[in-house]
């Protein structure tokens, strides 16, 4: 007999997939099937929702596209020491621009991995990467950089050239591959327009030993307009190279590296008991 409306309320089945009971007895707060659903939604509330996504974690694909066979996080501490502590600082981790490029020229300032070049900077001033390749075929590195002209200059005519940025590889066999610009041993110059942005990745390979590698970043402010160009450069890695200034050198302290002594490839918590 047809009758009046009755209501069934279905809540969010936050206890997940359950398939071990009869179909008619599906337990409250459970579901028979789900895919790419999580119990806490993307904003942390206890209600089922679609899972969040994923993205590539690094700029470069490795191993010619083969399967990544293993991953191991390593946590240690780099601390400043005397120049004789280690002959060779293998890693610059992006923690400070000054470590790799020395003191900032007048009108420049460093903040972490960013260089800000103010309007008082003298045209043509530059910084140089403080690296030396001690032996043949041993230096190679890649870095990312971003050169931006901030939005505060958006009122300027878009045709105005706001600055110029230059990366120069100096050395007999320095190959500089700057994104779309392949210059061999050339000087790479990118002219920046108002409101422009230039992002790239550069790889450097010094195939002849005992040469200084000077990786210069210089900004030539326009004479007609005030210029502020922000250069961000991260991830300098000088494999087996030696930093020759600022800081004098550094070492991995063997006495405090065992932050995670028993972990294998896993991250283990501090243990009780």
């Amino acid at each position: 007999m047809l009758g009046h409306a009755k209501v069934i309320s279905i809540g969010s089945p936050v206890k997940g997939v359950v398939r071990t009971i009869s179909r008619e007895q599906q337990a409250p707060d459970t579901c028979w099937d789900a895919n790419n659903i999580v119990p806490y939604d993307r904003f942390g509330r206890l209600r089922v929702g679609q899972r969040t996504g994923m993205s590539k974690a690094f700029v470069n694909q490795i191993g010619s596209g083969s399967t990544v066979q293993g991953l191991l996080p390593v946590h240690t501490i780099l601390y400043g020491g005397s120049s004789s502590a280690v002959n060779g600082v293998p890693f610059y981790t992006g923690g400070g621009f000054q470590q790799a490029f020395g003191p900032a020229p007048a009108g420049w300032s460093y903040s972490g991995t960013f260089i800000s070049i103010g309007s008082t900077a003298a045209p043509g001033t530059s910084v140089a990467f403080q690296g030396t390749a001690p032996s043949a075929d041993i230096f190679s590195g890649t870095f990312n950089f971003v050169v931006e002209v901030p939005m505060s200059y958006s009122t300027l005519p878009s045709s105005t050239w706001n600055g110029e940025f230059t990366i120069t590889g100096v050395g007999a066999t320095v190959d500089v591959d700057l994104g779309n610009y392949i210059g061999g041993s050339a000087t790479i110059t990118a002219s920046l327009r108002v409101n422009s942005i230039f992002i790239g990745s550069e790889s450097i390979h010094l195939s002849t030993g005992n040469q200084n590698l000077n990786l210069n970043i210089s900004v030539v402010p326009s004479t007609s307009v005030d210029s502020v160009v922000v250069v961000s450069m991260t991830g300098i890695v000088a494999v087996s190279s030696t930093l020759i200034a600022n800081p004098p050198s550094a070492t991995i302290d063997p006495t405090i590296t065992l932050i995670n002594p028993g972990a294998g490839h896993k991250q283990l918590p501090l243990m009780i008991g």
Binding site: G49, S55, L71, P73, Y79, G96, G141, M151, G262
Partner: protein, 613 residues
């Protein structure tokens, strides 16, 4: 990009100190290191790859050196020099001279290249003892004095004579280095190797603090230990996993058993069998939560255990009341099982990647509610390997990293709605029935989640774009609801982007003329006037005679309601007759998501349930 390092307070008179967070990756047999934003080749050897190109590797970090095994090779990555080399190597000595007038005399050895040797290292000098004069055989600490020479001291009552040359070798390992191992771990400062294909039940632990000392003849408490030579005895099954749980306890998983190591075997430690009914499904089929609970996947399902005698809790089966079928179908050797604990999300991720490269179905274990949730990633994302990377710069540097089948390392990103490809999500609600009789589903009201206020309106939000595969690619925003039109401004990092951009199909983006490999983090101005929400979900209503028909089987009646807006409690009039009902929420639209609070189904009686299958 997420990986940076931060400074902490410098010591007096010292430059600023830094945490260093590296990610070591192995791919195609080569070893890579991340630093800052980048991942760079760290191979120092002049030749090709030192590891096999396809097999899963196991790694252990001890005192600045990462040891890597692949079932054949044992390779070390020395962080201080960023070089990769075989742990054991042999150098031929082309000249050996001695100097000095009294003991100890100083021997000077000439080799082709001392690049693999380091001062302070103890090496084994082995020469042909039948040669005359005889060489200075033995183990000696050396001092590297040039690119081709090193010295060591000889204790001798008489002045050594220059020995014969050409038959003398230098070996840097004490004892016999284990070979063909596929498992490596650091426990108590020992390099622990196992998975020896020739002796799969055996295990090998180096001397404490010296991963190149496998001299089992020594009897001091720090000496190297081998299972077959230990008074603690061997393990009776092939070892499939090493779990260095704490300094006091470690476990090994075998195919069908679980063993616990308590204390140092060279100093009275013991091996105890925890279970002979369960073993681990692979070297990475375990993880530990922040409270010290150990989780592992064995043949019988998902287990947890607290393997400390003081707080001992026997293995608990967590999956038998929920999704036992999932674990029963796992195959050791075919399925690559990895567990990672995500403390921020209070969850454990159980990755199951088929070895044939097909798409795996993974699980999320929600600790707060105890539920299991199937997840699927794009097949190329695998993961074949994984780890939790704990950066030091903030919460956004604590991420699960996935080693893909395509040479890319990916991160689970809580800000994204896509995997670079669309996430297809679905959940079946029900089955439900009104009573024993049939009913007519008369109306449906669905209460969905909402887009938070800070994502609504004309406010900038951060969107991370994918890397560009080629210069011709568009920079695609991950939220496709941005109503970009060809005349509209696009803001990138707050900068006016005046490059050409276009609108193509349902993909919104522009080509900024960036080089290959460029990565961009963009702010865009969110426009709510046209299509305000990155929201989409379809609700498929189903009715049928029994619970099977509205879940796994075929429903007799169905209808689909689409929701493109959040929050909306939409009452939809439907007329579906049946004895059982279900509602499947499904989203297959790119760059959208949904969440669900509740639903109200209104029925009217429809008499006897006369339908059959």
């Amino acid at each position: 990009m997420i990986f940076t390092t931060s400074n902490f307070a410098p010591g007096a008179g010292l430059p600023q100190n830094q945490y260093l967070d590296f990610l070591v990756a192995v791919c195609n047999g080569f070893v890579y290191i991340s630093s800052g934003d980048l991942m760079l080749l760290a191979n120092g050897q002049s030749g090709g790859a030192l590891l096999g190109p396809h097999t899963a590797v196991s790694m252990a970090y001890i005192n600045g050196v990462v040891y890597i095994v692949d079932g054949t090779n044992l390779v070390e990555l020395v962080l201080a020099t960023a070089t990769v080399q075989q742990v054991q190597f042999t150098e031929s000595v082309s000249a050996l001279t001695s100097s000095g007038s009294s003991s100890p005399f100083l021997a000077t050895a000439t080799v082709t290249n001392t690049g693999n040797l380091t001062s302070g290292q103890t090496v084994t000098i082995a020469g042909d003892t039948s040669a005359s004069p005889s060489p200075y055989n033995g183990e000696f600490p050396i001092v590297v004095i040039s690119s081709t020479q090193f010295t060591y001291e000889i204790i001798s009552a008489t002045t050594p004579v220059t020995p014969a040359t050409g038959t003398i070798t230098v070996t840097n390992v004490k004892g016999t280095l284990p070979t063909n191992c596929s498992l490596a771990a650091n426990w108590r400062g020992r390099l622990w190797l196992a998975g020896d294909s020739n002796n799969p039940q055996n295990f090998y632990q180096s001397r404490v603090g010296d991963p190149t000392d496998f001299d089992y003849s020594q009897t001091d408490p720090a000496a190297a230990v081998a299972g077959n030579l230990s008074v603690s005895g061997q393990i009776g099954e092939p070892i499939s996993a090493i779990i260095p749980y704490t300094d006091d306890y470690a476990l090994t998983g075998c195919a069908h058993s679980l063993w616990m190591f308590e204390g140092d075997l060279a100093d009275g430690g013991t091996i105890v069998r925890v279970s002979d009914n369960m073993g681990l499904l692979g070297k990475d089929a375990w993880t530990v939560d922040p409270e010290g609970q150990l989780y592992f996947v064995a043949n019988g399902g998902l287990f947890s255990v607290r393997p400390i005698w003081e707080f001992y809790q026997p293995p608990q089966l967590l999956s038998d009341q929920s999704y036992d079928q999932f674990f029963q179908e796992l195959s050791y050797g075919f399925d690559n099982v990895q567990l990672e604990w995500d403390a921020d999300q209070h969850r454990m991720l159980i990755f199951v990647t088929p070895s044939d490269g097909s798409q795996g179905t993974h699980l999320q274990y929600d600790k707060r509610n105890g539920g299991l949730w199937p997840l699927q990633y794009p097949p190329v994302a695998g993961p074949f390997s994984s780890c939790l990377f704990l950066g030091d710069g903030g919460a956004n540097q604590r991420v699960i990293l996935l080693g893909g089948l395509d040479g890319w390392i990916r991160q689970l990103d809580l800000s994204l709605t896509d995997d670079s490809s669309t996430i297809a999500s679905s959940i079946v609600l029900g089955p439900v029935r009104l009573d024993q009789n049939a009913a007519i589903l008369n109306a449906v009201t669905v209460n969905l989640g909402e887009v938070p206020a800070n994502l609504a309106g004309n406010v900038p939000i951060v969107v991370t774009g994918e890397m560009l595969a080629s210069t011709a690619d568009f920079l695609v925003f991950t939220s496709a609801h941005i109503p970009i039109v060809n005349t509209q401004a696009v803001f990138v990092n707050g900068m006016w982007q005046d490059s050409t951009y276009t609108l193509s199909g349902s993909t919104y983006g522009f080509n900024p003329g960036l080089p290959v490999g460029a990565v961009i983090t963009a702010n865009y101005t969110y426009q709510s006037s046209t299509n305000p929400d990155p929201w989409n979900v379809d609700a498929q209503l189903a009715s049928g005679p029994d619970a099977y028909s509205v879940t796994e089987g075929l429903p007799h009646n169905s209808a689909v309601i689409s929701f493109t807006l959040e929050r909306r409690q939409k009452t939809t009039r439907q007329r579906l007759r049946g004895g059982w009902f279900s509602m499947t929420l499904e989203n297959t639209q790119p760059s959208t998501f949904f969440s669900f609070e509740s639903a109200i189904l209104e029925f009217i009686d429809a008499g006897r349930n006369r339908e059959r299958r």
